[in-house]
């Protein structure tokens, strides 16, 4: 469409009328140029920092004291990534008897168990023929303080 000459006497539908304002590709400053101008990018995005696989990441609330030596306390929120293949030594969320359980995964040889990070709690060892389902790997814990 050519915008070269506008016939000012012909009515133009408002949706078709061109707007002649163009954004200039540079900023016009009055006074001192800001020394920070070249450095301002974006605020740190906490979620982007913590989360590697957004589609696979879920939040769960932890209830109980068995993981305190791993730094996870009652009422903390854990961020769980289901895309990560669980390895021995990682804190995981597992499904035990239909419920979610947060423990440390321990794998050696063919043996597998869920260890508590608190000496007063027992580990969970699957019984014969029972399989443990690892639901996801804990990648972060969020603790909120009362303010």
């Amino acid at each position: 469409m050519s915008h070269a000459i506008l016939d000012l006497h012909t009515p133009v539908p408002i949706s078709q009328a061109p707007l002649w304002v163009n954004a200039l590709p540079c900023r016009i400053t009055a006074g001192f140029p800001s020394p920070a101008e070249d450095h301002v990018v974006q605020r740190v995005d906490l979620m982007a920092q913590l989360m590697r696989h957004p589609q696979a990441t879920y939040l769960l609330r932890v209830r109980g004291e068995s993981m305190i030596e791993a730094g996870i306390f009652d009422n903390d929120v854990v961020m769980v990534d289901r895309a990560i293949t669980p390895r021995s030594g990682q804190v995981v969320v597992a499904v035990v008897d239909g419920d979610f359980v947060c423990k440390t995964l321990y794998q050696r040889g063919g043996r597998i168990k869920l260890k508590a990070a608190n000496p007063t709690f027992a580990d969970i060892t699957p019984k014969d023929g029972q399989t443990l389902e690892i639901w996801g790997v804990v990648i972060a814990a969020i603790k909120q303080f009362r303010v």
Binding site: L60, V62, A83, D99, F100, C102
Partner: protein, 432 residues
């Protein structure tokens, strides 16, 4: 080449992600007001529960067979759908999200073994999101959809189709004899776009299997059954006639109908409900940038009760097409006043917006009255903006009723699971 990725028993699968104890159990998800089954686990299907079965008719299975019924939790399903769709998009360069649990992927130009690639995406969706899917692949959308049916059926009912077609089925990769065997083993009502009526007609003409349907002459099909069926036949033959759609088409009509949580007899309560329904419909109308010219309102009693039956509807034409909540609500309430009779236990009401047109076309009219109607477009934009930002129902017409706890007509959702992924307070719990 198209792929169709479709979540298995999607709503049930979503619930199972956060309730692992529901695995292997018969589960149904109920519609609004816990009316009828809108999703069934394989175990529930095996109990003989039909799609749409009313809850009161299958209730007894809870005691006898451990059936679990849940109210629909659309906030949860929407979130998991979004996750699933974004992983499914990895299959190919273009995607059409067809419904909450289905998306077509255009795989044109994708190199390598499509079946292997699809299996990878499928297991990624299962591991990452927790939703099991079926993937069908074919030269057309109709064939992809058919492949999806084969993939799911082969998995659910071993023996129905060759075992290697379970979970992922690429019809275009089959040898001609195997493809013919698959098409011959499939009833025509499983074909996309072939409804019950058409199935009957085709069956009467001896066309009972997809193989027979695909073998028909397209020109003959057009003269006998019309262009829509011809298109289906051509698609089955591998000629693509249905393109990928990237934006949903504006709807031709918008409905907001609902069963009440408890029977309603008073006009005042009905007014609240109809105001609410009409307001919701008006929001949808503005979202798709349309105007409405006719507002239909209906009320009816429950056909499942022994009470006196009553069912009426009326259509109220608007003087000029509008997208104004107040105009639409007024029309609906006028219609309601005309059809309401006291003394009936009403179970359901609804508002439908008919005769929609784009809001860019506005029929002018001669100004016969003195005061010109003011343009309330900005008011409506503000209304929608406030409700979007602060939650639905923040600003509403007073006739919708303010004491939301006392609304007798409000929905019943006694079995809804928490908003596991959408509400901070509803997060699932892990024991430690």
């Amino acid at each position: 080449m198209y792929a169709l990725v479709d979540g298995n028993n999607f709503y049930v699968s979503c619930e199972r992600v956060f309730r692992p104890s529901l695995q292997d159990r018969p589960v149904v998800v109920l519609s609004n007001n816990d009316g009828c089954a809108i999703a069934r686990s394989n175990e529930a299907k095996a109990l003989g529960i039909a799609m749409g079965a009313p809850w009161f008719k299958i209730k007894h299975l809870a005691d006898s067979d451990g059936l679990v019924a849940l109210s629909a939790n659309f906030a949860l399903y929407g979130d998991l759908s979004d996750r699933m769709m974004s992983l499914a998009a990895g299959l190919g360069p273009q995607q059409e999200i067809y419904s909450i649990d289905e998306s077509f992927i255009d795989m044109t130009g994708v190199r390598g073994d499509l079946t292997v690639r699809s299996h990878k995406i499928r297991s990624r969706i299962l591991q990452w999101v927790g939703i099991p899917c079926g993937i069908g692949i074919g030269a057309t959308k109709t064939l992809a959809k058919l492949g999806n049916y084969v993939a799911k059926t082969a998995e659910r009912k071993p023996g129905s189709y060759p075992e290697h077609l379970a979970q992922v089925c690429d019809l275009s990769a089959l040898a001609p004899t195997e493809l013919d065997a698959v098409l011959a083993a499939t009833a025509i009502n499983e074909v996309w776009g072939v409804g019950r009526q058409l199935s009957k007609q085709l069956n009467a003409a001896g066309i009972t299997t997809v193989l027979k349907l695909a073998g028909l002459d397209a020109a003959m099909v057009r003269s006998r059954w019309g262009v829509v069926v011809e298109r289906t036949v051509r698609e089955l033959q591998g000629t693509s006639c249905i393109e990928l759609e990237h934006a949903p088409k504006p709807k031709q009509e918008i409905a907001c109908t609902r069963s009440f949580g408890h029977p309603v007899t008073e006009l005042a309560d009905l007014n609240e409900a109809v105001t609410d329904f009409a307001s919701r419909a008006a929001v949808k109308l503005r979202k798709q940038r349309s105007l409405v010219s006719q507002v239909l309102v209906f009320i009816r009693t429950s056909p499942f009760r022994q009470d006196a039956q009553y069912s009426r509807s009326t259509t109220v034409p608007l003087r000029r097409p509008s997208a104004d909540t107040a105009v639409i609500v007024t029309a609906a309430l006028n219609g309601l006043a005309a059809i309401y009779r006291p003394g009936f236990k009403l179970a359901k009401a609804g508002v439908m917006l008919l005769g929609l047109q784009p809001d860019t076309v506005q029929q002018g009219e001669l100004a016969l009255e003195e005061d010109e109607e003011e343009d309330r477009g900005r008011l409506m934009t503000t209304l929608d903006g406030l409700n979007l930002r602060y939650g639905r129902g923040t600003v509403l017409l007073a006739s919708a009723g303010l004491a939301s706890d006392n609304r007798v007509w409000a929905m019943k959702q006694e079995r809804r699971t928490p908003g596991y992924t959408t509400c901070w307070a509803d997060m699932p719990v892990a024991r430690a």
